[in-house]
Point group: C2
Chain length 224, copies 2
């Protein structure tokens, strides 16, 4: 069992990530299947024990890469979970991160992952999870909701160019609300977060939508 690796035997710091995506209007989270006891075979957040000689976020990125093959540009620290018996074996302090990733990069995942079975689960169809990971996901989802309304974290979720109806669906899916198309557009354009590319989307039936991109420089401003 990897936890006996002397490199981090003397500590119980566990880093883990709640990585979200939005796939066809459904908010999903990345989970991995456990290959060791305890909770063998159950699903859990990707993560693992922090090495003594690596920074927190470095450890988080290493674990994410090892377990899922993913590199997330924009990881944010979330919360600490420290109940004495949250892990059945040894005392484990869990430190959670959250982030989002472009749904088009989902393909990347299943082809490059080496160490674990991984998959995306709709946040209202999550299987029974190891440890207190269900609680950690709920917490991370709240933090994500808070952060998308005033920040650029969503950039990681989109390709370079995207349409306004697309980004609206993502907001609606994550926040669980619906917006009027005209008002959403007005609001989104009044921030200087995104800009018109001049192009229109060729794909998709019906009327072609304008393509937008994120601006390089933007002032932070509360969105909703």
């Amino acid at each position: 069992m990897e936890i006996n690796n002397p490199r981090y035997k003397k500590q119980g710091i566990h880093v883990m990530a709640a990585i979200f995506t939005v796939d066809h209007g459904i908010t999903k989270i990345l989970l991995v299947e456990r290959k060791n006891e305890p909770f063998y075979g159950m699903w859990s957040l990707p993560g693992g024990a922090l090495y003594n000689d690596e920074d927190l976020e470095d450890g988080m990125r290493r674990e994410l890469l090892e377990k899922t093959g993913l590199v997330i540009p924009n990881l944010r620290q979330c919360s600490v979970f420290g109940k004495v018996h949250r892990s059945p074996c040894m005392r484990m302090i869990g430190i959670s991160y959250f982030g989002v990733i472009d749904r088009f990069k989902v393909e990347l995942l299943t082809s490059t992952l080496k160490t674990s079975n991984a998959g995306w689960f709709a946040i209202n169809q999550i299987p029974p999870l190891a440890y207190d990971h269900q609680e950690i996901i709920q917490d991370a989802l709240e933090k994500l909701k808070e952060s998308i309304v005033e920040s650029d974290i969503l950039e990681s979720l989109f390709p370079k160019e995207f349409t306004l109806p697309e980004i609206q669906k993502v907001y609606e899916s994550i926040l669980g609300v619906n917006y009027d198309r005209r008002n959403f557009r007005k609001r989104m354009l009044s921030l200087d977060l995104i800009e018109d590319t001049g192009e229109t989307a060729k794909f998709g039936g019906k009327k072609p939508a304008k393509l937008y991109r994120f601006r390089k420089e933007k002032k932070q401003k509360r969105i909703f």
Copy 2:
């Protein structure tokens, strides 16, 4: 050196608290003088190593009580600091909390504290601090600013009854801005956060101010 106590020798979890108060319009923070190496004699945030058999917040409260004699009703988890070399001795993961306390309880502090020299410092007159505590304070202050505009954390800062000019000064001190008296009053009363007691403040010269109290039930709502 307490760090050699076998109870937590095998781990490096350090909990610490940024406790703020507002004293005559000045935002201040609670610091303690270190009695051990490293950083002997320097000031630092109150805190210490977490025991293996106590929950995070329990450890935080125990340390606060031991080091300063204070009991803070409303502590909130803040951030994690995990750089490999943030502590010169062993690897230490620092977990910060923040809270506020009534300035009238400041007296309590210096009389009951047993273990450390403690004191309140204006946040723009902080002495050189041990470890990365200066950075941790800045982070905690930002979190405090975020949280007072949409929450009831300030309850711990006031006696049961208080006047509107008093609470306005507190907001202005923490957020570093000034508000129009009429507009502040209108806004504060439009939330159902506080209620009129019917009494007026006897103390203080000039025109007596109405006394308010926090309501038992209140809906969460963004204030500024």
